[in-house]
Amino acid sequence: MKNQIKQLLKSGKFMVGFIVFMSILLFITIYPFFVPGNPLQMIGYNSFIPPGTYLSLYDAVNPNVFVYTLRIPGAAEARIVNTLPMSDREAMRDWLVRAGMPEAAIDIYDPETLLALWNANYDPDERIEGMILADHRAYQRLNNRIQGMFDASALRLYSADPETGEPQFQAPITDTDYIALSDIVNIRRLPLGTDNFGRDMLKQLVQAIGVSLRIGLIAGSIATAIGLLLGLVAGYVGGWVDEIIMFICNLLTVIPGFVLLVLLAFSIGPAGRSVTIVGIVIGLTTWVWTTRAVRSQVLSLRNRDHVNLSKLSGHSLPRIVFKDILPYIASYVVMAFILQVSGAILAEAGLSMLGLGPSTTEVATLGLMMNWAMSFSAHIMGAWWAYFPVVFVIALISFSLNLMNTGMDQIFNPQLRD
């Protein structure tokens, strides 16, 4: 045993898989301590807020925040480039040309004169002959965006009088005003943005990985336990017991497991589909191939000398099975268990994608996250953060588990052993 563990530690594949898997476990264990709170809290009143750091505008313009003056060279230019990128300037030039300006008179590299020219000529209500509505509206939006961008004193802070609602002048905001980030109380980091409900994606993902692993463990344990028990009995006892078990196995092999899973999950109903129940249901539908594999291993073991010796010594059936046979297939069972866990995680994802997993308001799971991303067209509308991390995590978990399995296989399987 010790020797085998030593060998495992030397196996590159196993170790990579193991480290990846453990890193995921470590991450989901410690992350909630750093960012506490309910991962299902709907905080965003916009769907699919992109990843980023969000600071409270209300706090930032609070008159009590200390304002520093910094004259940073290039700040104004950077602001202009950000507000009026080249693509917009080209669009402005196109409009002016279509409105009858000579192209030579327009210099898009001089934003200030360009804007002056624009303000002098652009009329948001004028519809240029042949211009489609979408372009017409795009120019109106552009026009609104760039108003006052060169006027450093354009922004003033007002507050509403609590009695009359009249605006009261508070302070001017100039382009050299800076505040320290540390002075702003409310900053929220959304490393993976939000989903369609406005829930923090990373927090959800952390919970979902935990839940999916739990489902995987429950399902894997059940499937392995049933598979092992039936396989041992069928293989060792043989005769009609074997036939009955194999008959059931064959029957279930013919029925696609996922269809059975869907039917079972549906018949339980939404109120009953908790994480545990989903895990149990997956476990109950995926034990078949473990049974078959264990049985065939047992068939080759049952006529070994030490088993016969044990029989002759009058040992009981359970003792023979558990003491003389099980240890020989234990490594195989562990590998099968790992694959069961990986398969169950995928099965949950598939089930939740169909809306047959646990409830959305109850818990986050990887499948549910993908389901919602898909039904709100995240994949078409470019909200990659709503589905890619989930897909990536599913791939990573199943990759690490499979890598561990392959690594173990190379050590325990005599045919593959170097």
Partner: protein
């Protein structure tokens, strides 16, 4: 003013044409040749039919002058449609069509056949009038001149346009209208309760008689208004054949594909298969006469691809392969603001469209779970829902908020909002009184504590010492905005200690449950309300509160939660026959307060009758907010929205 002068001028032209027609020496003018559909500029008002000074007199008009040649089907059908002659629609049809029979509602051919209160779909079959839900106006289509009511609102009359002809070259007459009603009302399981009969007064005059109550008053005159914009007029000769060849068997008549149907509209059947339904322009269409549109519609083909789902349709639209779409596109503004695509909605900013419908969550009175029959319990759930979140995230702001348009029985249009006394209703509008959801949750918790549903040790509420069961909340599977909205209702339940579990079932299953006379599968479920129509908001209130709908199988008309209230029924019967404005406001106010106190259901959002997004990859000139054309955003198909088909032009 300009419009009125134009109308008078056109009327004069029309009268002159009539006089000229009567003059014995006048040559028969040939039907106007199809005009070059050179597009008018967007600033032009939508083409509107002329209004004659008086109803046309059939004896004084020789209709043969307007005669058209029968439509001849093209010898060859090409499945390759020229892109610059085809408008592609999407979001109406999800499977192959069964035929072109307008009598049937089983054709699954929504591009050609749809008769709804917000205005029937008129490319192939036509109604006497077109409805414009933007201003509630009626625009003559088969009719000419306005509808004419008698004083006690028992009889509605309209005249058929003498220029209106069937596709087989025969004139459309009042007898067609009379016979259509006769067939629709005879060969049906549910004859109209509101219309007594339709009578042809003469060849061109149709009179519709309202069904009367015991006191001799019309049951609901609004329904007659709705009738003339909702029900197609079909050809008597064809209907006779339909009845005869199916021996008057309703099922067989419904199943008849009607390939020999005769139509009056500007488009007709071209082909339909598993991938595409296509209509082709009928170049002999009567409506190109100057008394109607004065031109043919611009696109030669209307097509509807049959795709797997909304995502496929959206991808096609983004690629410029779909021109007009009726589908909910989450974050639709990203299409132009982020992706820079030439796609637009009616308005450039939220709510992007005209929201006239109110998808509503219903409590199911058939459920025997505790609380459902308690008004305070129902109100607590409704109060605790974060509607801002539904509107921001489930509807992605394609609805005004309930702070902007406080809840009632009315949609956000100004006309409906003016019907009740908002000051008297305000104290009952919880999301108006308490705009912050946390305040509402607190109030809902208090309400439940007082109503006898205290929290148990585990935080979930109890009744009679027993933990409340989980309430099943359902919407059809895949209706993503509704699914998300219901999840937010479920989250509200959690906040007040009531376990609400969502269950999304396939539409085919869902609708069987919800429309059954008695159903217990769901405790809370979502359905729509009636949209914009001449009968709104009465019909919406009737949908939401009338006991008339309770206890019927195949109930598609409303009150699916089966809540009943005698006073609500009484008010609903009084409103249609009340003409005194002050009394009417009192009745509406009382009804709204009753609805907001009893909470048999609660609306979750406002929603357009049809989503309407257009692509300008190929065609431009679609209706837009504030363009002065006053064409409703209804996919250029329903009611007066068809006017867009006469206005669009190719890009570039």
């Amino acid at each position: 003013m300009r419009k009125r002068i134009l109308a008078v001028l056109l009327a004069a032209v029309f009268c002159f044409a009539l006089l000229a027609a009567c003059a014995p020496a006048a040559d028969d003018p040939a039907p106007a040749p199809p005009e070059d559909p050179a597009a008018p500029t967007p600033a032009d008002p939508a083409p509107a039919p002329a209004e004659p000074a008086e109803p046309p007199d059939p004896d004084a008009i020789d209709r043969s002058q307007f005669a058209r040649a029968p439509f001849v089907f093209p010898d060859e059908i090409s499945t390759e449609l020229p892109r610059n002659e085809t408008v592609y629609h999407f979001g109406h049809q999800w499977g192959p069509s069964n035929g072109w029979n307008p009598f049937s509602d089983e054709m699954n051919n929504p591009l050609a056949i749809e008769q709804v209160g917000a205005g029937a779909r008129v490319p192939m079959f036509e109604t006497p009038f077109m409805y414009n839900f933007l201003d509630g106006s009626f625009i003559p289509l088969l009719a000419i001149g306005p509808p004419r009511w008698n004083d006690d609102l028992t009889r509605l009359e309209y005249s058929i346009n003498p220029a209106a002809f069937w596709s087989d070259g025969t004139p459309i007459t009042a007898w067609d209208a009379e016979f259509t009603f006769y067939v629709n009302n005879t060969y049906t399981a549910a004859p109209s309760p509101f219309i007594d009969r339709v009578v042809a007064v003469d060849e061109l005059t149709v009179a519709i008689y309202a069904a009367l109550n015991a006191a001799g008053q019309p049951l609901n005159p609004l329904m007659l208004d709705q009738f003339i914009i909702e029900e197609y007029v079909l050809q008597q000769a064809w209907l006779e054949q339909l009845v005869e060849r199916n021996n008057g068997d309703i099922g067989a008549m419904q199943a008849d594909p009607g390939y020999d149907v005769v139509w009056s509209g500007p488009y007709t059947m071209y082909f339909t298969n598993d991938e595409l339904t296509v209509l082709i322009r009928d170049d002999g269409y009567w409506g190109q006469h100057e008394s109607m549109w004065g031109q043919l519609p611009v696109p030669r083909f209307l097509a509807h691809p049959i795709l797997e789902d909304n995502d496929a349709g959206l991808a096609a639209m983004m690629a410029g392969m779909v021109d007009v779409s009726q589908m909910f596109i989450p974050n639709v503004q990203n299409l132009w603001e982020v992706d820079g695509l030439p796609i637009s909605t009616f308005m450039d900013s939220p709510p992007y469209g005209v929201t006239v419908n109110m998808p509503t969550a219903w409590f199911n009175m058939h459920s025997d779970k505790p609380g459902i029959h308690n008004a305070d319990f129902r109100r607590a759930i409704a109060m605790a829902v974060d509607y801002d979140l539904i509107i921001a995230n489930a509807m992605t702001n394609q609805s005004p908020s309930f702070a902007e348009v406080p809840r009632s029985l009315m949609n956000p249009t100004a006309g409906e909002q003016a019907l009740f006394d908002s000051a008297r209703v305000a104290p009952y509008q919880w999301d108006y009184q308490m705009p912050n959801v946390n305040d509402r949750i607190e109030a809902a918790n208090e309400l439940l504590d007082e109503a006898g549903f205290p929290r148990g040790a585990d935080g979930w509420r109890t009744y009679d010492g027993q933990r409340l069961p989980a309430y099943i909340a359902s919407v059809p599977f895949g209706w993503s905005d509704w699914e998300a909205a219901m999840e937010i209702v479920a989250a509200a339940g959690e906040a007040i200690g009531i376990e609400i579990v969502t269950q999304f079932d396939d539409w085919s299953i869902y609708q069987t449950f919800v429309t059954a006379a008695v159903h217990t599968e769901y405790d809370i479920f979502m359905m729509w309300t009636s949209s914009a129509s001449p009968t709104a908001p009465w019909e919406r209130a009737y949908n939401l509160m009338s006991s008339d709908h309770v206890g019927h199988d195949h109930n598609w008309s409303g009150n699916w939660g089966a809540w009943t209230n005698a006073r609500a029924d009484e008010i609903l019967s009084l409103i249609p026959v009340t003409t005194n404005q002050a009394t009417l406001v009192d009745l509406w106010t009382e009804l709204v307060i009753l609805y907001l106190t009893e909470v048999p259901s609660f609306s979750l959002m406002y929603r357009p009758d049809q989503f309407h997004a257009v692509s300008e990859a190929v065609w431009t000139g679609w209706t837009e907010y504030g363009d002065g054309r006053n064409v409703p955003p209804a996919n250029a198909l329903n009611g007066f929205a068809i006017a867009d088909k006469f206005n669009i032009r190719l890009v570039g």
